[in-house]
Structure formats: structure tokens, C-alpha cells
Symmetry: C2
Subunit: 412 residues, 2 copies
């Protein structure tokens, strides 16, 4: 029975920081969907001792080891040899794999060198895992106590294909029916992590339920998971409802949905179009909106009016307003949102103007002071916000607050 | 003497594949520059047993442990408590940290809840590592055999600030003089990794020199490091010169400088101003330019003309041009850059128009087709580019190509 896994990501490029390891996150995510718990991810370089250490630890902690990397033909590719050593098995050349490798090389007119034969050697008794994308196949071997060790190419594209086509079906079969897992992710805006923690404390969690938090500014995520057996679904659904009741519109989306995606969905649903007038966010809101494929259906465009002159020329802000109240003021924000809405004919005009820092702050308007304004058919309003931290944080926080206000306005 | 490190990345979001761990790659990269070898990276979830296991393994394998994550105020943040347990030390409230946290909450009018006090508790004898970006400070404690354990916030932005401001200077001092490492980072645009590899092959590297590559789209970085003793500096300087001779303007900057920062420096130096007309990049170039503090000195602003109507209204593109050649064409790009330059009076007008995908491509103009145009006092030109991959990659690649062209034009 496969309940826990240990993932081994190997290669010097990982321990010297040259490459970010995305393989382990991919594998962990896939395992999560079938209820296999990842006990640990171990990353080591192309080093004999450390690789053996990692295999040993993996076989202690997990029911399966899934390793990636080091299956290539060069001298620093040690994996297969060390797995055989670790298991006390011989290396055997697989003739079918050797023949197919040779054919592949011939077809591409690449010279065949003896070290390529290395990729056709596997520990005795290994099941071959085909590599539909590259040259090196992977393999699965049985360890003591019926545990399994699976090794895949370290090239993400190859690893993904091997995992999806061979490993995942095998694991799913092994796991059987009674391992179902339920999971729901809530994306939150408007609460701190500790306030959120407080609010969801009354949710009655059984031993098989787990609530986890993740704050990745400006995003805050709450996830409820339930692992267990039959009949669990009802209890899970009930708890999700309870969380929705408690958090209400603090939840901006469920699942892996970005705030700008949610806003796009609402604009589509309500058949509205958007135009933006950005000052301190310098184009970030526009970039976030247009990251989403299909945004041209509801996004008209906008102006990044970084200078006062641009505010006057593109948006029709009155020079007297800028003179009297300053660029960061309720009046300017209102004229900006009205201006962009009128110039473009979009249903909603959204404007932001503020002081992102590090300079430009005053005692009355410190760094982080931001005015956001929304111009809609029956509503024209500006609100003041105060952000904290460094320039990038102020810019990011402003973009999030503006998109969230727009979301709430569209929900009304 | 710090020779080896073990990095611990912790949090359920890592072992469930919800998030890719970039922290360990960042830390490994920084440690590499000062010659500290990473023995292993261990990732475990918010789980008592596994966290203690990881600390134990780390203290066996490394001279220092650097951990991230689990310093937050919520129930699943176990780190500090477990470190104290692991070391057999008491948890002590640091009054200065508690006061500063309370002040921070007051200043932002956020309700203070008792669980926030958790972030002011540290194992007895710990040195506090300030968190200049977020709430939770980190700490450093001494383990047996003079080994050290360092723990930082898991939020990348906070971790980076804490690492750069406090941890790195401490490690550098500890490593002492005879481990001096010279390192130079070249930021590259316009070469593939393998082409770059080919070009720098003739550089005569001694045994103490190492060239490493890092491709993190759209950035390509080449790093020369020399570890060794005295008198090494001269040889190092000579090799840097050789690399500069070979790569010329493919190097857009040296050190940790973003392309948009370099462009900003050049605009300042040349006393020029910039205005942007973006279509397919949707505001990303504008966002990148304004990420840089002080950009209001040279950035006028711009238009995100996502619809044809916006191109006509904001930039004066002729409807006949759009009709005849289409929005993604040399003629439209030229009219956009001229339009934004004339409307704003900026010295340089830069425009982009293209097909970011996934839809909108045709056999003649496939997804990834982009026209970029530059309007300068004595030059008005448009160039076609072809990008590959998904929407975000096309958008990012376009922004990089546009900024790089602007850089080269400013250098002329």
C-alpha cells in the first residue's frame, strides 16, 4: 500500500542554485491528488555519497521513492549505477532499449558513442519506464518490504511525460479506491493571516481534516483537505459551506484562480468593459488584466499617466485640480477615473494615484498613500488606502486593492 | 569554519506541490558565491516529526542549517517551538520585538491578537535576524560543535531581504579572508545558453576558476567565480576583461541589475525621456520601467492600446492603416511609436504590437509574431520578432526584446 512518498531531485545545478527545481513540485502536486503524502523532498548534487544517503533516507521514510536526474550518458550521471549498488543488484543491458537508442541516433544522424550504451543499462529486475520525449528511459525496481523506487529523467518535459504516461497510472492502480482525498482552496483578500486564523477557528475539524494557510503577498490562501475513506465527502462539503458562510466576500475565488482572472470573469458575465488610468502602479494593473487570455473581450486599454502633463493630456484632469489638491488626492483620482471612462466609452473607469516611494512622501501624505477611484454608470467614488513597505510592495498591494474593489463593485 | 550548508525548506505548500520552492535555489546560489557547498536541500511539510527529522539530518550533514518557513502566527507555524525543542532550549519572549510588532499593528490599525505574540518568541540565546519587509523576524542559534542554525521567513521577498542584509554579511565574515572569492555576474541578452557556452569556451580557466550559466527566462546570466588565496585577483580581473571583449554588447549589465534599471540609467545619462505605446504587452514594459525608483525623472507615461479604437484615439493611428495592414504590422507599429512620441513630446517613443496567444494567430501571422518600433529624433524604425511558447512567455520575451533594443539605441 502506497501511503507516503519521498522525492529525490538530483544534480549539481540544484545545489548550486543554477536551476530552480520544479520537478518535485509537479510530482508532489500529482501525488497529492491521489492522496499520497510526500514525507520529504531531498535535493542532492551529483555526488556518490550524498546520493546513497538520499536513497537510504528515502527508503526509510517513504513507501515509494521517486527520483529524478542523472540518467544521462556522461560521467557525472551516476544514478543507475548507484541504485544498483544501493539495492545490491547487477546492472543488465536491456537489448530492446539499446536497439531503439541506436535507431534513434541513426535517424537523427548523431554519432553513436559507447557511453550512450549506459542509458540502456538497468538494475536487474527493473521495469522500464519509456521516455516518449527524450533518450533516457526511466525504471521502477522493488526494494525490501515491497517498497518501490522509481527513477525518471531530470528534464522537466521528459519527466512530466514519463510520470503522466506510466507512473501515475501505476500509482493509481496500486492505491485502489479507498484513498480518495478532498481538497478546496479559498483565495482571500482583506484579512491578515492571523485574523483569518481567528475567523476559521470555529470550524469543527475532524482528525482527517486539515486547514492550511499560505500568505504570499498580496495573496492569502486557505486550504481545507480531507483524507480518509468512504462517506467522508458529505462532512467535507459541509465544512466548505461553513467556511464560505464565515468568510463571505473575503473569498474572492475558489481554486487556482488569480484575482485578475476573477475580475475578468465578472466583467464578461456582467457584459461590461474596463479602462484603466494608472499612475503609481505604472501599468501593473493593466499587465495583470492582460495576462489573462481573452481579456481583449472586456479590456479596452488604458493610460499610464506617470507625469502631471500626461494626466491632463490623456485624461482631461484639470491643471487647477492638480495645482490645488496635488496629484495624489481624492479630486485627482476622481477626475482620472471619469476622464478615462469618458475618453474610452468603457462601462467602468478605474484610476489609481499614489506615492510608491521610496521618495516623494510628506508628513501629510507619507509613502504608501494611495487614492483609488471607480467610475461606473451610477457610481463615482474615490477611496484612500495606506500601504506599507517597499516600493514594489506598495505597487503590488495597490494593484490588488484596486482589483478587489472592482470585483466587489461588479458583484453588487 | 563554515564549509557545508544544509537548506531546509518547510511548509505543506511545498510537499503538496502547491508552490515551487524558489528559496532554496536563491540561498544555494548566494552560498555558492562565497564557496559554501550545499550538502543537501531538505523539504518537509508543517509536520512535527518531519521537521525534527530534517533538523537532525541537517545538523549531521552541514556546518550550518539555513531553514525557511513556518515563522507565522498561525497554528501550523511550528518552526520556532520545534527548534527550541530540538536544541533543548526554552522559548523566550523578546520584548523589543514584541513592542515593535505591536507598534506595527497599531500604525496600520490592524487588530492585535494574542497569537501574534508567537512571532516575538525565540529559542533562548538566539540572535534576532530583522525582517525589513514583513512581520516575522528570523533568528540564529548555536548548536553543538559550534554549528549554527539560521531560520528565515518563507516569503521569498522577506527571505531575500533578511538573507542579504544579515545572513550573508555574517557568513562572509565567518568564512574569513583566506576563502576570498571573486565573482562577477554578467547579464546577457541576445544569445542562447549553448551559443553563450560556445563563445566563452576560449576563456582560459585555471583550476580555481569556474564559469556557470543560469537561464531564467528571459534572463541569461554568466558568472565567473574564483576561489583561492592571495594574488588571485589579478588573474580574475584579466578573465573578466576577456569575457567583456568576447561578449561586447550582449552583456547588458554586470551585477544584480535588471534590464529596465540599465535602460533607466542610460535615459538619465543621455538626458532623454521615454513614452510607451503597448498593445500585446498590456502594460508590462511600463510596469518594468516604473518598478525602478526615480523613474518619474525620465518616464513620461504611456498608453495601453489594447483595442483598435484605443490605437486610433490615444495614438492617432489611421483607421485605414489598421484596415489595410492589420493591428500587428510594421505600419501600425510605426504609427504607434510616432503617435505616442508626438502626443507626449518625449524624446523616445517605443511601441509594441503583436499576437500573444493562445488564440489570434493565422498562418501568415502565427502566435508570437510581434512588431516593435522605436521613434527617436533622427530615427524611426520597426522590426519584426518571432517569439515561441505560451502567452506569458511571449509577453515577457517581447518586453525584454523591446527594452534591449531601447538600450542599444541609447548606447549609439
Amino acid at each position: 500500500m502506497i501511503q507516503t512518498a519521498v522525492i529525490l531531485s538530483t544534480g549539481d545545478e540544484l545545489t548550486t542554485g543554477k536551476v530552480v527545481d520544479t520537478n518535485s513540485a509537479f510530482i508532489a502536486d500529482r501525488l497529492f491528488t491521489v492522496g499520497v503524502k510526500v514525507a520529504a523532498v531531498l535535493k542532492v548534487g551529483d555526488d556518490r555519497e550524498k546520493l546513497l544517503w538520499a536513497m537510504h533516507q528515502g527508503s526509510e521514510l517513504g513507501d515509494i521513492i521517486i527520483g529524478t536526474g542523472g540518467l544521462g550518458p556522461t560521467a557525472d550521471d551516476l544514478t543507475t549505477e548507484l541504485v544498483a549498488e544501493f539495492l545490491g543488484k547487477k546492472l543488465i543491458t536491456n537489448q530492446a532499449v539499446a536497439d531503439s537508442l541506436k535507431k534513434r541516433f541513426e535517424a537523427r544522424a548523431i554519432a553513436w558513442t559507447p557511453n550512450n550504451l549506459k542509458q540502456a543499462c538497468f538494475p536487474d529486475g527493473a521495469m522500464i519506464i519509456p521516455n516518449p520525449v527524450g533518450t533516457a528511459p526511466g525504471f521502477r525496481v522493488t526494494m525490501r518490504q515491497g517498497k518501490s523506487l522509481i527513477w525518471l529523467s531530470g528534464v522537466p518535459q521528459e519527466m512530466i511525460a514519463m510520470f503522466n504516461e506510466t507512473v501515475m497510472p501505476w500509482i493509481t492502480t496500486e492505491r485502489g479506491k479507498d484513498s480518495e482525498i478532498f481538497s478546496c482552496t479559498f483565495k482571500i483578500h482583506g484579512l491578515t493571516e492571523s485574523k483569518l486564523d481567528d475567523l476559521v477557528k470555529p470550524v469543527d475539524l475532524g482528525p482527517q481534516h486539515k486547514l492550511s494557510f499560505r500568505a504570499h503577498y498580496p495573496d492569502l490562501t486557505l486550504r481545507l483537505t480531507a483524507s480518509g475513506g468512504n462517506g467522508e465527502e458529505n462532512g467535507f462539503v459541509e465544512r466548505c459551506k461553513q467556511i464560505r458562510r464565515i468568510l463571505g466576500t473575503y473569498i474572492y475565488a475558489e481554486g487556482d484562480v488569480a484575482l485578475e482572472e476573477k475580475v475578468g470573469q465578472l466583467l464578461m458575465e456582467k457584459n461590461q468593459t474596463l479602462a484603466l488610468a494608472e499612475s503609481c502602479t505604472g501599468g501593473l494593473i493593466s499587465h495583470r488584466i492582460t495576462r489573462i487570455a481573452g481579456s481583449s473581450a472586456y479590456y479596452y486599454g488604458g493610460a499610464v499617466t506617470y507625469s502631471n502633463e500626461a494626466k491632463v493630456k490623456f485624461l482631461g484632469v484639470k491643471p487647477a485640480t492638480l495645482e490645488k489638491y496635488g496629484a495624489v488626492s481624492e479630486q485627482t483620482a476622481l477626475e482620472m477615473s471619469r476622464g478615462i471612462r469618458e475618453k474610452t466609452g468603457a462601462s467602468v473607469g478605474l484610476s489609481v494615484t499614489g506615492i510608491a516611494g521610496p521618495s516623494g512622501g510628506t508628513p501629510e501624505k507619507p509613502v504608501g498613500t494611495v487614492w483609488i477611484s471607480l467610475a461606473q454608470p451610477n457610481n463615482h467614488e474615490a477611496r484612500q488606502f495606506q500601504f506599507h513597505g517597499e516600493r514594489e510592495r506598495v505597487i503590488l498591494g495597490t494593484s490588488q486593492a484596486a482589483l478587489n474593489w472592482l470585483r466587489l463593485a461588479l458583484l453588487e
